[in-house]
């Protein structure tokens, strides 16, 4: 694990599904960047946003708070947030915070996209 800034990339898979690749560190410093990425990933017809954490290095409690904020925004739009690529540790964190109840976790992007296609 290492400290550093967040790195984000947005992939529009189709009008309904977008993927945000999240790498680096998800901390309070990532607030504006993550919000901007969500806005960019969010189209008129977007129903599912997949957060790909394969390149995540570190996420702290403030980062979890950002995910909650993201989740609130998504709920307002009746969107679903999915997650993939989480290490065992962050799967534990999601479980501990019950984020896994609101953000469905998939082992990899393929599984996440397959699930997204059914929503």
């Amino acid at each position: 694990m290492a400290d550093g800034s967040i790195s984000l990339s947005i992939r529009i898979i189709d009008p309904h599904i977008s993927v945000i690749d999240i790498g680096g560190s998800v901390t309070r410093a990532a607030d504006a960047t993550l919000a901007a990425a969500y806005a960019e990933a969010n189209g008129d017809q977007t129903r599912v946003i997949v957060l790909n954490f394969e390149k995540l290095q570190y996420m702290n409690s403030s980062g979890i708070g950002l995910l909650v904020t993201l989740l609130v925004r998504a709920n307002r739009k009746n969107q679903q947030i999915l997650a993939c690529g989480l290490t065992e540790h962050y799967r534990d964190i999601f479980k501990l915070t019950r984020l896994d109840e609101a953000i469905h976790i998939h082992t990899d992007e393929t599984a996440a996209l397959a699930a997204a296609a059914t929503i």
């Binding site: 702290n60 708070g65 909650v68 904020t69 540790h89 501990l96």
Partner: protein
């Protein structure tokens, strides 16, 4: 006018008068009893008056002593540098021509000369009929010798009185200063405090003190007054209670020095000042907060590295309204703080070479397990080969955070202690340091990951809430381990207030907008380690994280609802 005679001989005297021996014995007894020069001269006058009437001769006036006829002129002529005085001293029994105006009307004179000094002249208007000159010459010579001895004794007495008075003053200064110094070093678990104080020939005004403070803190003081002797001792007697009173109330060393400076500026004599280093130690975590009012910078010794502990500030008592920078370090296990007065660095060898700060650093860098104070004093003695008392007080105080003795229960290589600045990226930095410190412990990856997050969260909380992200406040981390458990203690300075008992965050409430999206930190810490406790005091917050080790404690299944 008759010249002075040759040196008198016993035989000549004995032949001059049948009772010369009795006269001389009486005269000698009076000289011995004379208390001063005038007493000796009175004895001479009495002896001559007793002696000469038997010859039927008169003395007019009685023996005339230097200055009696024309004191100013004679005194001027007989100053030690005068030709006459030097001539008389060189040849007291030779013929001398008296200067014009002095010897007029006298037939006889004899110089009062002894030990190279001329004390005056004895003059007679008429010579006795019998040749009494050898006897008179002998008596003037003995009188002069007596005067010389009396004067020497008076000078010695005066010198002794001065020396005695000086010794009394030094005695007073030493008594004052000794009474100011602590009787011994305080005993603290896991800490060793050693000290050395050596007063100078002239008391130099060093002061050191240990002040127990509320909440288990300890203040260390080392100061030095600008003067010596009684004034310096009195100055330190003024400073000590000021420091003690301020330290009890203010806790922050910079504020303590500022308050003492204000108090001292109204009391200190012009031109005097006091240098002073003040540190506050939290013995539990090794946190040391310090400020310095112009005292020599102490050294911190960490694993062979020796660094001065710099902080700027004016000496106390020079100018009111001064502020004092504060610094903060953590004295980890095995680390030492060494305070010393300039009497050590300026201790000089016979050739005049100072002991010097470079030599102090060298000694401290090669300490090994030695006591810094003992090592420095041994090196100073080697350097100071003069065998003389030093010119200034020498004071040394060492504060050593002792490593626990190696044992099966607590391997020392699994213990670390460090401080980090209160920055936004402190979490991963703290966690990486802790994980590196416990790399040798057998822990599963899950345990390490959980410890990593818990430590990072605790450090972030301390930096943000405890220290307000102030760059001058550090977060302290202590790591201790034995075969059963690993404990990480995270401490802050508590300026953001105490750690509250906050309820667990609730995701549903957060999603409903009833709670802030944030506020997960303490919850995560509590869930990710086996034990978590925290306490708050005016000195700061302390969070203790414990991870149980060994096969008896497999990784727990994390449960968001557990207590």
């Amino acid at each position: 006018m008759a010249p002075a005679h040759q040196a008198p001989l016993v035989g000549e005297i004995a032949r001059s008068l049948p009772d010369a021996e009795g006269v001389l014995t009486t005269f000698a007894g009076q000289l011995i009893e004379a208390a001063d020069a005038q007493g000796a001269l009175d004895a001479l006058i009495e002896a001559v008056q007793t002696f000469l009437p038997t010859t039927g001769l008169a003395i007019l006036p009685a023996p005339v002593l230097v200055g009696s006829a024309n004191p100013l002129t004679l005194n001027a002529l007989l100053t030690p540098d005068s030709d006459l005085a030097q001539s008389l001293v060189a040849n007291p029994y030779s013929t001398h021509e008296l200067p014009e105006g002095i010897g007029t009307g006298y037939e006889y004179f004899s110089p009062l000369v002894a030990v190279g000094e001329c004390f005056g002249l004895v003059l007679l208007e008429e010579l006795p009929e019998i040749d009494a000159r050898p006897l008179l010459t002998a008596m003037t010579a003995w009188t002069a010798a007596t005067i010389a001895a009396l004067q020497a004794r008076h000078q010695a007495d005066a010198a002794n009185r001065i020396l005695t008075a000086r010794a009394d003053e030094l005695g007073i200064a030493e008594i004052i200063q000794r009474s100011l110094l602590p009787q011994g070093a305080p005993r603290l678990p896991d800490w060793s405090i050693t000290q050395h104080y050596q007063p100078a020939r002239t008391i130099g005004g060093d002061l050191y003190d240990f002040i127990p403070l509320p909440n288990g803190l300890l203040a260390l003081v080392l100061g030095d007054a600008s003067d010596k002797g009684v004034p310096a001792a009195l100055m330190m007697a003024t400073v000590k209670p000021l420091l003690r009173a301020a330290a009890q109330r203010l806790v922050l060393p910079g504020l303590v020095l500022a308050e003492v400076n204000e108090g001292l500026c109204t009391q200190i004599p012009p031109g005097m000042f006091v240098t002073c280093f003040l540190a506050l130690l939290d013995p539990v975590n090794g946190r040391l907060r310090y400020a310095n009012a112009g005292q020599t910078a102490p050294f911190v010794v960490t694993e062979g590295k020796v660094e001065p502990l710099e902080a700027s500030g004016w000496p106390l008592g020079m100018l009111p309204g001064r502020s004092y920078d504060e610094g903060e370090i953590v004295l980890g296990l095995g680390h030492a703080l060494v305070l010393y007065s300039d009497g050590l660095s300026e201790s000089s060898s016979e050739s005049g070479e100072f002991f010097g700060t470079d030599r102090i650093k060298t000694v401290l860098s090669t300490l090994g397990t030695s006591d810094p104070v003992a090592a420095l004093e041994a090196a100073r003695r080697d350097h100071d080969d003069s065998g003389e008392e030093q010119d200034d007080d020498i004071t040394m105080v060492a504060l050593i955070h002792q490593k626990p003795a190696p044992s099966d229960d607590m391997p020392v290589d699994q213990v670390a202690s460090f401080a980090l600045p209160s920055t936004e990226d402190i979490g991963p930095k703290a966690a990486n340091r802790v994980l590196a410190a416990v790399a040798n412990l057998e822990m599963t990856t899950a345990r390490r990951d959980r410890l990593y997050t818990a430590v990072a969260e605790a450090a972030m909380n301390a930096a943000e809430h405890g220290n307000g992200f102030r760059p001058d406040r550090t977060v302290l981390l202590n790591v201790e381990a034995n075969e059963n458990q690993l404990t990480v203690t995270v401490s802050d300075s508590g300026i953001g207030g105490p750690i509250g008992d906050v309820p667990d965050p609730n995701l549903d409430a957060k999603l409903a907008g009833l709670q802030s999206p944030r506020g997960w930190g303490l919850f995560l810490i509590r869930r990710l380690v086996d034990k978590c406790s925290y306490q708050s005091s005016p000195e700061g917050n302390r969070v203790e994280l414990t991870v149980l080790l060994g096969s008896d404690h497999p990784d727990r299944e994390l449960n968001p609802l557990e207590d």
